[in-house]
């Protein structure tokens, strides 16, 4: 038997509200099935199951109550032996090397001692992550001040009740403030920028769109996403996570797309396997993702699977974006406005459409040299858009 816990769907999520069950007791559950809809500060999220089994018992009914991450919501009778690891649904599938949930220490208000320096057993760490408990807030009773599994359980049971639901916009602002403050405090960012000749990409896309119906056109943004994804294949050190004091690289390249929401706030859902998808398919998924993000309807895997984030503020006139990394990711890539600049082509200076690409990266994981190689790769890819 496994507990279905209120999952952590991003570094800035601390609580959620159960909107709807999509499985009834006795109903079969396959891996990847959507079993519930959870309201977070940012969206109504369709939560997928990482386990196969049968819905045994519903512990919490849908309602107005906001609950902390890690609250048991239902019991699931799993196929085969009981899972050894805590059944945190925000954890990755065994076959996927991508940690879907950020570490608990990124999620709560600042302890004096970083969580990765606290002594805790691996089981206690996993349980703390599953329950959304900040290890730094746990009273240790184990040998040498070690935090035990029981300590984590006790801390979870004494966590303060969720505060009354406030306006979603205010809660989103608060969640972003917590996550970004912590990111800025804990991640030693370094920043690089480069100006890229964007004319080949614009010319290619204009020619490609010319004879196509409006329903089949590409936006320049999709070229940027694909170029970033392919460049990450060349420089994989920037693709993944910083967890428990070390780099966890990801084989999958899932680009998180920063989407600004109407009325304020933002969300950065993932486009899975961005590097492997043809542009047409990527465009369709990009369009669908942005539409659903703005409508407040996303899937849990989209909220947790991003291995890097791309943001673009060029449409509002900004020439360069130096963003804050979304923990526990290792990097954030920014693009600015396409502008006309004097540019040397051969031996002539000509007006040219250029775009500024920036990289914010975690200096614990990479050095500037690696970051420079990445931006150079993006540059090279955008000069040959037909190969994207």
């Amino acid at each position: 038997m496994a507990s279905f816990l209120l999952p952590k769907l991003g570094a800035d999520m601390t609580e959620g509200r159960l909107v709807e069950w999509l499985k009834k007791p006795g109903e079969r559950i396959e891996r990847g099935d959507v079993i519930a809809v959870i309201e977070t500060d940012k969206a109504n999220v369709e939560v997928e199951s990482w386990l196969a089994g049968t819905m045994e018992k519903i512990l919490i009914e849908p309602g107005d109550k906001w609950m902390p991450v890690g609250t048991p919501l239902a019991a699931i009778r799993t196929d085969g032996p009981e899972p050894v690891a805590p059944p945190a649904f925000a954890q990755p599938a065994p076959s996927a090397p991508v940690p879907a949930a950020p570490p608990a220490r990124m999620a709560s208000a600042g302890p004096a001692l970083p969580a990765d320096r606290l002594r805790a057993s691996p089981a206690a760490r996993r349980r703390a992550e599953a329950l959304g408990v900040d290890l730094a807030s746990v009273q240790a009773t184990g040998p040498d001040g070690r935090i035990t599994l029981d300590d984590v359980e006790r801390a979870a049971s004494t966590k303060p009740a969720a505060r009354p639901a406030a306006d979603r916009r205010d809660r989103m602002r608060e969640a972003i403030a917590t996550a970004m403050s912590r990111a800025k405090r804990e991640i030693p960012h370094y920043y690089l920028s480069t100006v890229i000749d964007f004319a080949p990409a614009l010319e290619w896309i204009e020619a490609r769109n010319r004879d196509r119906p409006v329903t089949e056109r590409l936006l320049p943004g999709v070229l940027l996403l694909k170029a970033v994804a392919l460049a990450l294949r060349e420089v994989p050190q920037l693709n993944g996570f910083w967890i428990d004091g070390r780099v966890v690289k990801s084989d999958a390249v899932n680009v998180g797309v920063a989407v600004s929401l109407r009325g304020g706030g933002l969300v950065a859902p993932a486009l899975r396997d961005t590097d492997r998808k043809p542009l047409d398919e990527l465009m369709r998924q990009f369009q669908d993702l942005v539409t659903r993000a703005r409508a407040g309807s996303l899937r849990s895997s989209e909220m947790t699977d991003a291995t890097v984030t791309v943001t673009s503020l060029g449409e509002r006139g900004v020439e360069a974006v130096f963003g804050i990394i979304y923990p526990p990711q290792l990097a954030l890539v920014g693009f600015g406005k396409v502008v006309e600049r004097p540019w040397v082509v051969g031996r002539e200076v000509v007006p040219r459409s250029v775009i500024t690409a920036t990289l914010s990266a975690d200096h614990r994981a990479t050095d500037g040299h690696r970051g420079a190689l990445f931006l150079d790769a993006v540059d090279g890819l955008l000069r040959a858009p037909e190969k994207l």
Binding site: E206, N209, R210, P213, V214, T215, R217, L219, P220, G221, S260, R262, G263, F286, Q287, V290, T291, E315
Partner: protein, 83 residues
Amino acid sequence: MTSDDIRGKVVEILGQVVPELDPRELRADAALRDQLDIDSMDFLNFAIGLHKAFGVEIPEADYRQLGTLDGCVAYLAARIKAA
């Protein structure tokens, strides 16, 4: 289809892209992008909505004619007439 019919339909499609749109506050001669804070994805969805509602093709090169509500009405009226 009269100009008023076209205008009403255009505003309806804009409302699908920008749910918080208040038609009473929409200035017909001012840039839609600036009034409604729409980006290229919103604009593409708007163009797709117009294409489906009016049954006309909208080349990318014509996008700039759709920059205002008045521009949309004039453009669509001409396209419908020419069809």
